[in-house]
Amino acid sequence: MPSVVPDADPAPRDGSLPAAALAELGSRPFGFYVHVPFCRVRCGYCDFNTYTAEELGDGASRTTYADQVIAEIRLARRVLGEADLPVGTVFFGGGTPTLLPAGDLERVLAAIGAEFGLAADAEVTTEANPDSVDAARLEQLRAGGINRISFGVQSAVPHVLATLDRTHDPARVPGVVAAARAAGFDQLSLDLIYGTPGETAADWERSLTAALACDPDHVSAYSLIVEEGTALARRVRRGELPMPDEDDLAEKYAVADRLLSAAGLRWYEVSNWARDEGARCRHNLAYWRGGHWWGAGPGAHGHVGGVRWWNVKHPAAYARRLAAGESPAHGRELLDAETRRVERVLLELRLAEGLAIDALDAAGRAAIAAQVDAGLVRAEPLTAPDPRVVLTDRGRLLADLVVRALLP
């Protein structure tokens, strides 16, 4: 969760959603995102909504957190009404979800199941730090119904991890991955970060090779972004670290795509690669495809039927709201038809399946040809049954530029 909350309308105290938005429930997949805002240490590059133990105020702690989220899940049930709404995906993100006391993630998942029912093939993911879980804990998570795990390995190179303030020992990663496999995690993803100041091309190749040696089903590779307000941004501003160079990032993306593809992982979204269709992260795909999800936890974002809302950020404020029987929702946006169309373009274009051309207006369609000529997209003829625009390899690195061109 980012620390910047957009300006928008205040959310109603009871968390209710407009009838028009509720009427769209069921037309798209439904999921839960559960934000766990705790970390053992704060990483210098991270601007997500997360807190170390010392930063938490009264009424907020790791031990009471699960009960608060469960209260929000019950509130979600009241807000969303009685409709049959089986949950297709659950994603525990953070922060570090595995820092919660043993059994808490499982209890939260059970509460979601009790209120809404989990689909038979539900995808249930948790993020984990390689050094925050052991074999026993992994077995416990798997037994509790979590069937997909995403390890934040970021890099296999000690000096890169040190710059990122990551504390884990990269040598431990293969062991933890093996333990996860042994515990029965059939779907396993690794998160990588490229472009950390000081990371050489060889460092990045080493990280990719090390990740691939773990035989993951899925890899996310994100370029490092120096976010305002982070310790990393301060170090860059003081000249202690160089700003990541865009050409270097482009080169590293190309290397990642080459090595991952060679290992049998195919891109399905700009920053995500999967072994096969079944290994794609359905929860993340729902973000790009305009799916519905409830975001539970401090600062979490949700979306139902063109309404986007987000919770108060601080765990103490979050706890107070729920203790008072109020919705933790802080603000929301009611998107009009044009804004929903704009979002479709900027989200769907990032997918390997591409953007359905019906999302473009006349000027946007007219702009396709120039992007094709520039080698940034491939486009099916408008006469095709479901014509789509798909980014080329070069276009993936210029996706935002293409989006602006198609939304003149």
């Binding site: 934000h35 997500f48 993100g93 994100y222 050409d247 790009w288 974002h301 986007r308 602006r404």
Partner: protein, 621 residues
């Protein structure tokens, strides 16, 4: 607010109790604060109602801490001490603009007064512009009342600067008054001294009326409000009045004084300062420096000193969005209502499309106009590099006036090029003499002389090509003197010089908006620096963009902007789509502020910032 109940009424005020004065001060030396304090002490404005810096009207002036348009406030004052104690006088405080671009307006304001308060910061001493205005005031025969302000500040050095002022104006240091406008200390005594020291105005009450226009302001509701100082006779409500420079006749719809809001009167007489409203809609019809007389009983001779303002600096202004051309034209028409010095005519540029060539009094004038256009009319504008006017003499005898580098002749042989020059005065602590001379020398300056104002402060005089001080001279001067130097200049004719036109090409095409006329000796370094600067300022495009600098067909510098490879955000922040969409909106907003030059998107900043190439110097603002 009504004027003071016991105050003498306008039109029937004995000139013997009138005191007309102005305040000469450098920016930040506390003129507005002192004016506020006087308004409060004289009861014209009460403390609660006192808006900080009451006399500065426009937002831009307030932000920049300068006063562009002067006004005059009538304040009754009953003397509290000395030979006049208990007697009530009328003080007219005439505000003067403080910047080098407005020297002429300053001179007209001074003409309306009998005395000038020379207000100087007791921690900083006199500055070059203040000194220049002091000389103007002495030239206009004004009595000078020297005052040190901010004497309550810990850094104040009143002994030193009283001696300095005494040395400049030839008085005794003990005669220099000391005040703190902020706390009010000494201000009452200053008001008493104004009465004692300022000569009463003199004029012939029975002669045909003559009044000097010292300011002229356009008001949306009232049309032009003209500020005058009556010299002879009187101006009455419903009089038919005549402007002596043009002969134009107007009906006087209203006459009055400012105290500090307008107060209507039946008439204003000899020595009085007030305003006229005639229903004219443009300040050009009521010009500063002109003489107002009666249409039925006109004076034979105007008051002296009228000058038509001539623009010294030209710049092209172009809307980023070509559809805004008509809006820009309308906006310039509106601004001209209030700015008699503003001149413009349409022009077109290959790179920038349709816009206007605009003449300004100076760089500050340019900045103010540009900011007002953007702020008040919501226009996104590109301003091209400002340039001075060159006179080019061809071998075949033709003479071409170049107000835009694109007019620089390319056909035929050039015999001579003449450029305008200025006489510049720099005041600074003497330890910076070397640094200042080095700077002026690098700008082709000719040393005129150096004088010591006090033990450690000097006045340095240079003749400089005006084109050399256009972009960044003042910034360079400030950075080399740790901010201590001050600058004033006035136009001083022209000189022949070895000048050439440097063109800039993007992707092989000349971009006329980047062309500049520079001295041959600095053309190479200019071309190299500008190409490098443009490389920094122009964002990477989908294709490679070569940048070249050339004199005629000879390439003197080249740079290359590599094609962009990455423009995508990696991550979507756990479902925060709103943030991603807002980023897109911001990016699109940024794109709107780009100008398409051929296929290349060039940001607004490139057109003006590209010109400050010669100094690595300080960050602006």
């Amino acid at each position: 607010m009504a004027t003071h109940p016991t105050a003498p009424q306008p039109g029937r005020t004995d000139p013997a109790i009138l005191r007309n004065f102005c305040i000469i001060a450098h920016i930040d030396h506390g003129k507005s604060t002192l004016a506020d304090r006087m308004l409060q002490l004289t009861g014209v404005v009460d403390e609660r109602a006192a808006r900080a810096q009451y006399l500065d009207r426009m937002d831009i002036e307030r932000e920049r801490g300068i006063t562009i348009k002067s006004q005059a406030v009538r304040m009754p004052w009953t003397v509290t001490e000395g030979e006049f104690a208990g007697r009530t006088f009328v003080l007219n405080m005439i505000d003067t603009p403080g910047h080098v671009d407005f020297t002429y307006e300053v001179s007209r304001s001074l003409e309306a007064c009998e005395a000038a308060i020379l207000l100087v910061d007791a921690a900083q001493g006199i500055e070059a512009q203040t000194l220049a205005n002091l000389y103007l005031a002495l030239g206009a025969d004004l009595h000078i009342i020297p005052v040190l302000n901010k004497i309550d500040l810990p850094g104040a050095n009143p002994e030193k600067y009283a001696a300095e002022l005494a040395g400049i104006i030839g008085c005794d240091p003990s005669e220099v008054l000391r005040v703190s406008a902020k706390t009010g200390l000494g201000v009452e005594d200053l008001l008493n001294q104004i009465v004692v020291q300022t000569p009463a105005p003199e004029g012939d009450a029975d002669a045909p009326p003559r009044a000097l226009i010292f300011d002229s302001v356009y008001d949306t509701y009232r049309g032009v409000v003209t500020y005058v100082r009556v010299v002879d006779g009187s101006l009455k409500h419903r009089d038919r009045i005549q402007m002596m420079s043009t002969g134009a006749v107007h009906e006087m719809l209203e006459v009055g004084v400012i105290s500090p809001e307008p107060v209507k009167a039946d008439e204003i007489g000899v020595g009085e300062v007030g305003y006229l409203i005639t229903g004219v809609k443009e300040v050009r019809q009521s010009r500063v420096g002109d003489t107002v007389t009666s249409a039925t009983k006109p004076a034979a001779e105007p008051l002296g000193g009228y000058q038509h303002p001539n623009p010294m600096v030209f710049s092209g202004l172009y809307p980023i969005d070509g559809d805004d051309f008509a809006t820009l034209r309308d906006a310039l028409e509106k601004l001209q209502l209030n700015d008699a010095a503003l001149q413009y005519e349409p022009e077109s540029s290959g790179a920038l499309g349709f816009g206007f060539r605009i003449g300004f009094l100076g760089l500050l004038h340019l900045e103010i106009v540009r900011e007002r256009l953007e702020r008040e009319f919501n226009l996104d504008l590109i301003s091209t590099a400002p340039n001075v006017v060159y006179r080019v003499v061809m071998e075949d005898g033709r003479e071409i006036t170049v107000t835009n580098p694109s007019e620089y002749p390319t056909d035929g042989k050039i015999a001579e090029v003449h450029e305008p020059i200025v006489d510049a005065t720099v005041l600074a602590p003497s330890e910076y003499i070397g640094a200042i001379m080095e700077l002026c020398q690098s700008r082709r300056g000719q040393l005129g002389g150096i004088d010591y104002l006090s033990e450690d402060r000097v006045e340095i005089r240079y003749t400089l090509p005006m084109g050399e001080i256009m972009f960044d001279f003042f910034d360079a001067l400030k950075s080399r003197t740790k901010g201590y130097a001050s600058l004033n200049y006035e136009i001083a004719g022209e000189q022949a010089a070895d000048l050439v036109k440097v063109d800039i090409m993007l992707q092989g095409e000349v971009v006329d908006a980047f062309s500049a006329i520079v001295h041959r000796d600095s053309a190479y370094s200019y071309g190299v620096a500008l190409a490098a600067k443009l490389k920094e300022l122009i964002p990477r495009q989908q294709f490679e963009v070569p940048i070249q600098a050339a004199i005629g067909s000879r390439i003197i510098a080249r740079e290359n902007i590599r094609a962009i490879r990455k423009d995508v955000l990696a991550k979507c922040y756990g479902g925060d789509i709103s943030r991603k969409r807002k980023l897109l909106e911001k990016q699109k907003e940024g794109k709107k502020r780009m100008k398409m030059v051929g296929r290349v998107e060039v940001p607004q900043e490139a057109f003006i910032a590209a010109l400050s190439t010669s100094e690595p110097g300080p960050a602006k603002k």
